[in-house]
């Protein structure tokens, strides 16, 4: 189920002085192919975002684990022959179209939240590559970008510590009466793992971990580890091996640039929307 063999990449884009700019540029060009960023890949189909993958966040299969047994999922993906897996899952009645669409869009949003290129990061565009999932439900690049900006702003308002996405979490207590979901997060939080890594291990969205962290913090059960350096781009993830999704080589240079400025992103989006 790996992507089909990748044709030669176009020249790397290094003019991307603005966050999200490469994605919006290829969307405006109605391009088809995959945009590689240091933390993930954006699959475009005629300029629409068909799929987004980020190794640091759980993908569709991981999210559906509680719903479709993982062996059954892998069997279905194999049987589909590595293309149009979404249509195959529906034909096999493994889930409803509504569930597939919602789960897919949640995975896309979460991956975009993680993988959106930061200013001046190198990206590469490989044309004419389709994602193995096929056409489930595409979304517009400006809408996706606006959603990421809005979610980031909301989570930053909610969490009382800076850099909530990348600050490791440490349990303060393990109350025996904690709900199973809370206990799972308290058990996984070890003072080293960031919310991204915790989300990967727990197979939920980063957003879910941060929301849960907020309530556990309010209850005095969990705290951010203060003064830790920000994570590197390639943490030792406790997640499952990812050999089922071999990645094309990503640009080696990884910059720890500042997160995108929200107001700048919004201005950029508005400017590009006017051009679309």
């Amino acid at each position: 189920m790996s992507p089909r063999a990748l044709p030669a990449a176009r020249q790397p884009d290094d003019e991307s002085g603005l966050p999200g700019a490469p994605l919006l540029r290829y969307a405006t060009e109605r391009a088809t192919g995959v945009l590689l960023t240091p933390r993930g890949r954006f699959y475009l189909d005629a300029g629409e975002v068909a799929c987004v993958e980020a190794p640091e966040v759980p993908g569709l299969g991981a999210r559906l684990t509680g719903h479709i047994p993982s062996a059954r999922w892998q069997e279905a993906v194999r049987a589909a022959g590595g293309r149009d897996v979404g249509a195959f899952l529906l034909a096999e009645r493994l889930l409803s179209r509504g569930e597939l669409e919602i789960c897919h869009l949640q995975a896309v949003l979460d991956a975009a939240y993680c993988a959106l290129p930061r200013p001046h990061e190198r990206t590469e565009f490989v044309p004419d590559v389709a994602h193995w999932l096929g056409d489930v439900r595409a979304t517009s690049a400006p809408a996706l970008l606006a959603a990421v900006v809005r979610r980031r702003a909301w989570l930053r308002r909610l969490l009382p510590w800076p850099e909530p996405d990348t600050t490791p979490l440490l349990p303060r207590a393990h109350p025996p009466a904690a709900a199973p979901r809370d206990r799972a997060l308290l058990d996984a939080a070890d003072g080293r793992r960031t919310p991204y890594q915790l989300a990967h291990g727990l197979r939920v969205s980063v957003c879910a971990v941060l929301l849960q962290a907020r309530s556990l913090h309010a209850a005095g059960l969990l705290a951010p580890v203060r003064g830790t350096p920000r994570r590197t781009a390639h943490p030792a993830s406790p997640g499952p091996p990812r050999r089922a999704h071999p990645r094309p080589p990503l640009p080696a240079a990884v910059h720890e640039a500042a997160d995108p400025e929200i107001s700048l992103l919004l201005r950029l989006r508005n400017a590009l929307e006017e051009r679309l």
């Binding site: 719903h67 179209r97 569930e99 949640q106």
Partner: protein
């Protein structure tokens, strides 16, 4: 096994309905919309729906502070000219979406619309 578009098309058959939408309430991403929107902008509705859903879901009295699986079912807003109904969609996997119905107050029956919306939300994720 209906998808988002089919459910929204069904929502447009609820008596008195003016518009409908499905939104990710962590981000305001519109997952689909149908019919009309106040001021003609479905994306603005998705963003505004999100603010209401967030205020409720992340509230310790009305929602679940973790915002994960709020026991909250609906949010009902009544106004001089219309009703707005928000329904949190419960899924077997991790997700945060809500269905929104905009109804004409003269034409709609709030109790009927609420029950129809409940069934639509259930139908969206019924395998």
């Amino acid at each position: 096994m209906p998808g988002i578009d089919e459910i929204l098309a069904e929502a447009m058959e609820v008596p008195g309905v003016l518009g409908a939408g499905l939104t990710d309430w962590t981000s305001g991403l519109s997952l689909g919309s149908a019919g009309r929107a106040p001021r003609g902008d479905h994306d603005a509705v998705a963003a505004d729906t999100t603010e209401v859903a967030q205020a409720v879901a992340a509230n310790t009295t009305f929602g679940d502070a973790a915002g994960g699986h709020p026991g909250t079912e609906d949010v009902i807003i009544t106004a001089a000219g219309g009703y707005h109904l928000l329904r949190f969609v419960d899924t077997a996997f991790d997700s945060r979406t809500c269905l929104h119905l905009w109804l004409d107050r003269e034409q709609a029956n709030l109790a009927v619309a609420r029950l129809r919306l409940r069934d639509l939300a259930a139908g969206l994720v019924a395998a």
